[in-house]
């Protein structure tokens, strides 16, 4: 059901929505260094997430940089008879394909390779479009944001898999599995992009529609 909307945003009306309990309060800029607090739940009130663009940009760039070691360094090494065989994110998928484990290969390929790349591309696109005050398809861009925010966590499959393998395969000289630096970089990409998506404020997409005269 869609209730009747007023043709105006809360910010334009001088109202601010509490991010935690969703109560509307009258907005007044807090004194410098001070906070405006929600009268119901005590959370900090902001018209838009603070420093949304700067934070999201910084975290997205950091994720791009971390993405390189995450894919080039080994995520784990299988040591068997004193001989080590390093695995990267990509070679892990290749092993699954070679073993004929198609559904699993697809799952890992999607979670570990497609999702991180799409997430970085989507975040960059959203940030550029907001910076350029784009008025193009705001609803679709909001949906893109929601997807970006929701799928990020699924990339952690590989990291959890490594924690299980490392604890299980402890056969001394026969075989052991050691975690690699790539796994740490990969986990960092996931965590940093999650923070980037959280810092981004989707209302900025719609703010570009606010002043039809100025462009």
């Amino acid at each position: 059901m869609t209730p009747s909307s007023l043709p105006i945003t809360a910010a334009r009306t001088g109202l601010v929505r509490c991010h935690a309990c969703h109560l509307l309060s009258r907005w007044k800029p807090p004194p410098s260094g001070g906070h405006l607090l929600c009268p119901r739940c005590g959370a900090d009130l902001h018209l838009r997430k603070p420093d949304s663009m700067a934070r999201a940009w910084a975290l997205t760039l950091a994720a791009f940089i971390l993405y390189i070691p995450a894919n080039t360094l080994p995520i784990m090494t299988v040591v068997s008879m004193g001989h080590g065989e390093p695995d990267t994110i990509l070679s892990g998928v290749r092993v699954l394909v070679a073993g004929g484990l198609w559904p699993l290969a697809l799952l890992v390929f999607f979670a570990s390779i497609v999702v991180p790349v799409l997430k970085l591309v989507a975040l960059t696109y959203l940030l550029v479009s907001v910076r350029r005050k784009s008025r193009w398809r705001p609803r679709d861009r909001t949906v893109l944001y929601r997807i970006t925010e929701a799928v990020g966590r699924w990339s952690m499959i590989d990291v959890f898999m490594i924690s299980i393998l490392v604890a299980l395969v402890k056969l001394g000289a026969i075989a052991t599995i050691e975690p690699g630096a790539g796994a740490l970089a990969f986990a960092a990409v996931v965590v940093v992009t999650m923070f980037a998506a959280m810092s981004f404020d989707p209302r900025l997409i719609w703010d570009a529609l606010e002043n039809p005269n100025e462009r």
Binding site: M1, T2, P3, S4, S5, L6, I8, T9, A10, L15, C21, H22, L23, L24, S25, R26, K28, P30, G33, G34, H35, L36, L37, P39, R40, C41, G42, A43, V95, L96, V108, R139, T142, Y145, R153, W154, M156, I157, D158, V159, F160, I162, S163, I164, L165, A167, L168, V169, K170, L171, I174, E178, A183, L184, A187, V191, P202, R203, I205, W206
Partner: protein, 213 residues
Amino acid sequence: MMNANSPAFPPAAADALVACHDCDLLYRKRPLREGEKARCGRCGALLYARKSNSIERALTLALAALILFGLANAFPLLDFQFQGRGQQSSVLSGVWELYAQGMWALAAVVFVASILAPLLKILALLYVLLPLRVGRRPWRMAWVFRWIETLHPWAMTEVYLLGVLVAFVKLSDIATIVPGVALYSFAALIVAMAATDAALEPEAIWERLETRR
């Protein structure tokens, strides 16, 4: 640090209006029937929903989740057997082994996502819901309830289970892998946590807090 309370917006008006989370458009609230959801016509975001027996159902499910969480962590996930040698692994032993091999940061990420965040989320829910069920308001309820939303994205129980399944399939070629009690508990825990989230109606809980005007 200076604090200022926002000038109270007339209560009747504040309760009558709602702003969209994703596009900030204002709406006049309309009462919903049970099970109904109100969505933003401009961007499609959920504005508010009404659920039946929200507190009671969420409380029951959260209690079930706590028990399942205990089982999922007390028992082994997988049992690995290779040429007469065996090794079991639990959620905690996975974390411990990463730490023991010098990857403390990775161990911390796995610990938070698989143990700490889900546990804190369940405990925080019980802390808020149990007293509300008997008509009392828990101490610092707003602060605790805000934390539940913060913890939500970091509790990755369902992703963790997929990680375990990938490990299971990868190893079952070369060794005998027996799923443990914790694996089934984990699957049930995911269902219980998702059902708790679905039963919970945050608006109904926030409305229990009277506004300081």
